[in-house]
């Protein structure tokens, strides 16, 4: 670890605080007595799909398509995950398979 222990603890506390705020906010803004506006219900329905995509991009944000390994290990591993998942629909198998392929590629091939 590069930072002091207290700095690590503060970093974690900030992560906790941010997360707790996101979880409690809707219950504070929309108390039990009132029905949330329609537009909020609509957003509550479409946004989870978009967040799924956003998280995929987020986890790949440091991939460099024009240098290094050109994102080839990532592309191959994701293809494996999609294929496994469409085939077996088993979350654990898909993740384990894709990660194993990725580790193999970055450690042995590239």
């Amino acid at each position: 670890m590069t930072m002091e222990t207290w700095q690590g603890v503060v970093t974690i506390l900030m992560a906790v605080l941010g997360t707790v705020i996101t979880r409690f906010l809707p219950f504070i803004v929309f108390p039990e007595s009132e029905r949330p506006p329609r537009v909020v219900e609509y957003l509550g329905k479409v946004l989870p799909y978009a967040m799924g995509g956003l998280l995929v991009v987020y986890s790949l944000k440091n991939v460099t398509p024009f240098s290094g390994t050109h994102g080839i290990p990532e592309a191959v591993a994701i293809t494996v995950i999609v294929a496994l998942h469409v085939w077996k629909r088993n979350m654990l198998l898909s993740i384990a398979g894709g990660t194993a392929v990725y580790m193999l590629l970055v450690q042995v091939v590239f």
Binding site: E4, V16, T22, G44, Y49, A77, S94, G98, Y102
Partner: protein, 264 residues
């Protein structure tokens, strides 16, 4: 409120089978998270505490990177808000179900992670089982699996540091890809549009703003686009018509107000 033992055991017996799929995937994921931290040189106490207190998998993986970079608490806070933004929408969906839960409500909200949301929002609770305690046990069991896995992984990882675990972090990408696929395969076309926007907008923003600054613009642009595309993406409208009384009126009011706004 007095709680008798039968109420509790009934709720627990209903909650355990519903949480079993989460048990397997949580143990596996949390184990790899713990191993990751262990191999980066952290004592098992770190993954144990982080899994118990942060209790949102994606942010925990991200926090590993934060702990290995320069000290920046503000960035940690903002990242937690941005990555956790989806919780706001889980909360909105659970407003009704978590109503009138008394003190339990605080824990239910605190523990509302992706998987707990998935189980509790979709669960068909058997007759005679107390809803509040059912939700509570699902939340508690899920958190227990997660902390257990992370702690064991941390203990294991400390001893594995000589092993080449380069690339293990891809497990997070794997999780997100699978969640995305599950959403994709279990939804119809309108939701596919939302899912695609969730890929395309962040990719454009990533190209424009770089890896450190693309999250906020992505979220803002997506929000604006979804509001603009509401006419095409909103398929809740018919349900509003079937709602009784005040609910339907409120819905119509919101719609007309929305219409006026977009005319301006």
């Amino acid at each position: 409120m007095r709680v008798n033992r039968e109420t509790l055991s009934k709720a627990l017996r209903a909650a355990v089978p519903k949480s079993l799929p989460v048990c397997v995937s949580f143990l596996f994921l949390a184990l790899s998270y713990g191993v990751l931290m262990g191999t980066k040189g952290f004592s098992f106490v770190w993954p144990m505490c982080m899994s118990a207190f942060i209790f949102t998998g994606s942010m925990e993986f991200v926090t590993v990177n934060l702990l290995l970079s320069a000290f920046n608490p503000i960035a940690a806070f903002l990242l937690a808000i941005m990555i956790g933004a989806r919780h706001i929408f889980y909360g909105i969906s659970m407003l009704g179900k978590y109503r009138n839960m008394g003190v339990k409500k605080f824990y239910l909200i605190y523990g509302l992670c992706d998987e707990t949301f998935a189980v509790n929002s979709g669960a068909k609770i058997p007759q005679g089982v107390d809803h509040g305690w059912f939700y509570c046990f699902v939340t508690l069991l899920n958190q227990f699996y997660w902390v257990l896995g992370a702690t064991l992984g941390g203990l294991l990882g400390e001893r594995l540091s000589s092993l080449n675990t380069n690339g293990l972090e891809f497990i997070l990408t794997g999780l997100f890809v699978v969640v995305f696929l599950d959403q994709w395969m279990s939804s119809e076309r309108k939701s596919h549009m939302a899912a695609l926007l969730g890929i395309v907008i962040p990719v454009i923003c990533l190209t424009l703003f770089g890896p450190d600054g693309f999250m906020v613009p992505s979220l803002v642009i997506m929000l604006v686009l979804f509001l603009a595309l509401r006419r095409y993406l909103d398929d809740l409208k018919p349900e509003d018509g079937t709602d009784a009384g005040a609910g339907a009126d409120a819905g119509v009011d919101a719609l007309t107000a929305e219409g006026k706004e977009s005319e301006r």
